[in-house]
Amino acid sequence: MKQEVLGQPVSRKMLAAFLKNRTALIGGIVAVLIVLVSILAPLLAPYDPLAQDLPCRLSASDLNHRLGTDDFGRDVLSRIIWGSRVSLIIGACSVAFGMLTGTILGMVAGYYRGKVETTIMRFIDVLMCFPDLILAVAVTAVLGANLVNLIFTIGLVMTPRFARLAHGALLTIRETEYVTAAQAIGVRIPRILRKHIFPNISGELLVAGTLWVGEAIRLEANLAFIGLGVQPPTPTWGNMTREGVDVLINAPWISIYAGLSILITVLAFNMLGDGVRDMIDPRLRGE
């Protein structure tokens, strides 16, 4: 199936397109580096991210503290390194959660049609009506801010996007001969969805997933900046940026570096996602 009749296998063409796309390549490399940093945080961080050193609070960058210290004398670099964990965990888990629920909703809606479809897709429309951030703020405020609730909330915000995507992709696939054939020989519906339909839309979902990890990370940072993120003293980039604002005039580096970490990470995932989308789409692959 993977082999096209003429020319190279599709997978090799995709890889070539990916390597040729400099934006995607840079984004991918930076994203991998950030993931490595978060895994190796205990080895890389020069200090304990929670250790306070009050005599040298708010000191600017020097040889001991490369990125300076914060209001409690904690090392900003170490906190940024450890902070990557919360961002990446929430980014990845919430997108996975949204992908799971959204795909199931979208596939069920697209397969059953009729009333089921109308009900599910109207519900999705309503969820999409609210700006992501306001919906997330509202749900977090009601549920309480902790790691699990944040994953649930951001996943909930991501759900409608995946549902629409899965629904749209399914509408074309369900008319194909192999789905009709499966129906004709009496394959049960969950199996049709799982074995015949899902593999065909999984590529598209995966691309969207990469693209939206960045968005999820940004959403988490926004919530943390309002004070609705993982609670201090756990270092997160959003928390650090907020704490830095209180001392913005005297010690601007705290907010600058913490915010820059968010920007670079989101940018890397967006570049990667853009590139992967171009790679999957044969029209953009230049064939």
């Binding site: 700006p131 703020v137 009601v142």
Partner: protein, 313 residues
């Protein structure tokens, strides 16, 4: 045209109804007790029970829902659980600041966004194009609060041109504008990034159309083809997608209001959350819902003005 406008307005009523229902679901059906929230975790059982009774939380859910809808229809948003002030008055006081901020941001977005988008499309794969694409990718990735902080550091601290906090007085337009500029620019730059990208791809799509080739074949000047044939048609999706992004911008306005300590709906909402003032919080959510539905209505109407085909569907 008139019948289309009426039909479209009627269509948004059920949407509004459903969206307001969603607010009810979020605030009342999800776990968490508003009375405990208002009184704190250590309040006595009797006190919590009394407040629940007073807030009408002991009534069956359907009755609470009907009361909630009824109050909104009457324009009664209740009184703040903390200050006792009527919420509607507070909302009316801050709403102009949020509207002013959002519309200024949208205006700047279209104003700054369309020209570089056209330029990037026309000079495709040149230095200008790459520069524009990097800029818009940056703008689409940066969190609103971080852009706000950077602008404060640059234009209020390094070069003290604009005030950092608060909003100006509406009776003093110059002062008002000085306060509006930085927060508005923050939102505007976010929108610019998006509009630039949309303009570029919309024009690249339009340039391939047959009628554009025909226009060139007729011997029209490049400039005439670009402005009369390409731009006019490319504008339709730009307005539509820009409108969708304006909804995102309402979300970003929350962050901007927080960073710039600017009075507005977002600041009111976050303040209410911190004080556990659930009546105010729920009301602001309703106002946001109404704003989003009205904005969608406005976009559709503008859309039908630009593209006459739409109203016949």
């Amino acid at each position: 045209m008139f019948s289309y406008v009426i039909r479209r307005i009627l269509q948004s009523i059920p949407i509004l109804f459903v969206v307001i229902t969603l607010v009810f679901v979020i605030v009342r059906v999800l776990p968490g007790d508003p009375a405990v929230a208002a009184l704190g975790d250590y309040a006595s059982k009797d006190a919590v029970e009394a407040l629940r009774e007073k807030m009408g939380l002991n009534a069956p859910l359907w009755l609470q829902y009907l009361r909630f809808l009824g109050d909104i229809c009457l324009g009664d948003l209740g009184a703040s659980a903390i200050t006792g002030y009527p919420v509607a008055a507070q909302v009316l006081k801050v709403l102009p600041h949020t509207l002013e901020l959002t519309f200024f941001g949208i205006f700047l977005g279209y104003f700054f966004g369309i020209p570089p988008g056209i330029l990037a499309a026309v000079k495709r794969n040149t230095f200008i194009d790459y520069f524009t694409r990097i800029f818009s990718l940056l703008g689409l990735s940066i969190p609103a609060f971080y852009l706000g902080i950077l602008l404060i550091l640059l234009l209020s601290v390094q070069f003290p041109l604009f005030p950092v906090v608060g909003a100006g007085d509406f009776s003093n337009p110059a002062d008002n504008f000085r306060h509006l500029f930085l927060p508005g620019l923050t939102l505007g730059l976010l929108m610019t990034a998006y509009i630039t990208r949309m303009t570029r791809s919309s024009i690249l799509n339009t340039i391939r159309e047959d009628y554009v080739r025909t226009a060139y074949a007729k011997g029209l000047l490049d400039r005439v083809v670009l402005f009369k044939h390409v731009l006019r048609n490319a504008l339709i999706p730009i307005v539509a997608l820009g409108g969708l992004y304006a909804v995102v911008l309402i979300g970003s306005s929350v962050m901007v209001e927080i960073v710039f300590s600017r009075p507005g709906l977002g600041k009111l909402m976050v303040g209410a959350i911190k004080q556990r003032d659930y009546v105010t919080f729920q009301s602001v959510m309703v106002i946001y819902a109404i704003m989003v539905v009205l904005l969608n209505l406005l976009i559709d109407l503008i859309y039908s003005l630009i593209d006459p085909r739409i109203k016949y569907q």
